[in-house]
């Protein structure tokens, strides 16, 4: 019988500290958290922590924090909050750096993304079945067999 992969205690302790630090970022990303605080959460010095975090997650804590904030911003923008409000709500201090990072991550400006999402939400509300594959909708009796067939799917 195969034995579970059982890292030595210091190694396991290392993983748990890094994971706890990541979860700390997940919980406090809207706050003005400083790297020193996150490193302290993992009981590492700042530079040692950056190196260890990157070893595990292939990005620095700052890069991870930024991507998390952008992902949360996408949700808030889709919910209708203004760009300036979203910028502050996810922990950015400057609108320009928020917009630049947002575009880098998603390919569009926050306002364009919001407009795209509003168009999508309108379509979901007004014509939901134009977004659902008819083979799926047919299973649940939402479209008729004829509609399923004539759409050629």
């Amino acid at each position: 019988m195969k034995q579970p992969f059982n890292p030595t205690y210091p190694k396991l302790y290392f993983y748990r500290r890094i994971v706890q630090a990541k979860l700390f970022i997940d919980q406090h990303y809207t706050e003005n958290i400083e790297l020193r605080g996150i490193a302290g959460e993992a009981f590492y010095s700042k530079f040692h922590f950056i190196r260890k975090f990157k070893e595990v997650y292939q990005r620095t804590p700052h890069q991870y924090l930024s991507s998390l904030r952008i992902e949360q911003a996408m949700k808030l923008l889709a919910g209708g909050m203004s760009v300036a409000e979203v910028c502050a709500a996810v922990g950015f201090e400057e609108l320009s750096s928020f917009s630049r990072l947002f575009k880098h991550r998603t390919g569009v400006n926050p306002s364009v993304y919001q407009s795209q999402q509003q168009t999508l939400q309108k379509r979901i509300a007004e014509a939901p079945l134009t977004l659902v594959p008819h083979c799926f909708a047919y299973q649940y009796g939402v479209v008729e067999k004829e509609q399923f067939q004539t759409n050629g799917i």
Partner: protein, 136 residues
């Protein structure tokens, strides 16, 4: 492949599991009727691939008996659905455990890498793997 179905027992509960525990993002959520919605999740890192969280109800494809049988089989952990790969399995394992994900096998060395097995909230099980490159 662009879409795959995962049969789930409760779409709201599955949505919570796949987003808040596994960390996937909602791609689209379209209500259809009281029994079902077109609900897909995915990751920003793998655009173009969506997991459709499909509820098991009586439908044109399933009689009530079949749906009930399928629900029982899912909750018993009959179906292994797929493989999630990660870059550091110990970190991912520790994180998912901290979030309450149930593992049925801890990270174990295999010839293809290190693998753990976990269940979703319905009972479907998945491999979580850190694969060894073929040429390594």
């Amino acid at each position: 492949m662009t879409h795959m179905n995962i049969f789930v027992l409760d779409q709201d509960r599955a949505l919570d599991f796949y987003t808040n525990k596994l960390g996937l993002k909602v791609i689209i959520d379209v209500p259809m009727n009281k029994d079902a919605r077109w609900l897909t999740v995915g990751t920003l890192e793998q655009p173009g691939f969506e997991i459709n969280l499909t509820p098991v109800h009586k439908s044109i494809l399933h009689s009530e008996d079949t749906a009930e049988t399928l629900r029982n089989l899912i909750s018993k952990g009959t179906f292994g659905v797929g493989i999630f790969t990660c870059t550091d399995i110990m970190a991912t394992y520790e994180e998912l455990k901290a979030k309450g994900v149930e593992f049925i096998k801890p990270p174990t060395k295999e010839f293809y890498g290190t693998e753990a097995l976990f269940k979703d909230d319905s009972g479907n099980w998945f491999s979580l793997a850190q694969l060894t490159p073929v040429n390594a």
